[in-house]
Amino acid sequence: MEGMVFLAAAIAVFTGVGAGISIGIAAGKASEAVARQPEAAGKIRTMLLLGCALAEATAIYGLAIALMILGNA
């Protein structure tokens, strides 16, 4: 049964899928925006970083939960 703990931690890290997809979409849209309006690159970069930071949060929560699961094992 001890293996189940590791399995649980691995499932928790699946939150990374959502973060990966969303950061990919954000970066793609940002490069489209810069291609359309190169003069707004600075503002777009700030927005992109902010969006990535928020999207990344889900992955980080997954990591934190995985660490908690492993820590209690």
């Binding site: 700030t46 970083l49 930071a53 990344e56 949060a57 980080i60 990591l63 660490l67």
Partner: protein
């Protein structure tokens, strides 16, 4: 599991452990203080030497804060700048000393949850303080009931979620990078670690410092912005 935190020394009688992370934060503080004192010792109207670097940094931070917060920025630049410098230096100190190769003794200060948590709590206190200063105590409490009164629990909850996600983001990124570096070093001990170290320790450290400061300034500007009503 090995979390890369080593106890260097125990304060006798009180039994307070001093970990390598705390020592690294002292080093980061010493670097910043020494730089600040030396570069501003004999200030001239036309800057020479180190005074140039100080002016560049202060100007960049002021511009960054004014972009986001507008006129209210002036008051918060010192706080934002302190956090930015501390995080930027302490996150990248690990890369300078090849943190992966010293057995984890030299670590970014954010590898433990303690320092990110302290910074995040400071940030939320500044946010609440800014809100109270802007709207007054009663106005601030009233703003918790905006836009509809039954959103009050969610508005209140936000003051706990914001610091939690701030600190977990910083800690999780740096800690995740550390674990990945350990794996890379075990799998491919030559060439690859030095390249990966550039990305994980240097780039990711600076990026996370920037993201932390960006989110802090956004939270503050949310509180102090003028609403046209």
């Amino acid at each position: 599991m090995d979390d890369g935190i080593r106890v260097m020394w125990n304060i006798p009688f009180l039994d307070i452990p001093i970990t390598n992370v705390v020592v690294m934060s002292w080093i980061a503080m010493a670097v910043i203080i020494a730089w600040a004192v030396i570069s501003t010792r004999k200030m001239k109207l036309v800057p020479v030497g180190l005074q140039n670097t100080a002016e560049i940094v202060v100007e960049a931070l002021t511009n960054f804060a004014e972009d986001i917060m507008g006129h209210a920025a002036k008051k918060f630049v010192p706080y934002l700048g302190t956090i930015a410098l501390f995080l930027a230096i302490s996150n990248t100190l690990g890369a300078l000393f090849m943190s992966g190769l010293t057995g984890g003794l030299v670590a970014p200060t954010t590898r433990g949850l303690a320092i990110p948590a302290a910074l995040a709590i400071m940030t939320i206190l500044v946010v609440i303080g800014a809100g109270i200063q802007k709207k007054g105590v009663i106005g601030f409490i009233k703003s918790l009931f905006q836009p509809i009164f039954f959103l009050f629990p969610f508005n209140l909850l936000e003051f706990f979620i914001k610091p939690l996600s701030l600190s977990m983001r910083l800690y999780g990124n740096i800690f995740g990078a550390y674990i990945l570096m350990e794996m890379i070093i075990h799998a491919v001990p030559v060439v690859l670690p030095s390249i990966a170290c550039l990305y994980f320790d240097l780039f990711d450290g600076l990026l996370q410092a920037f993201v932390f400061v960006l989110l802090t300034s956004l939270y503050i500007s949310e509180e102090v912005e003028d609403k046209e009503e």
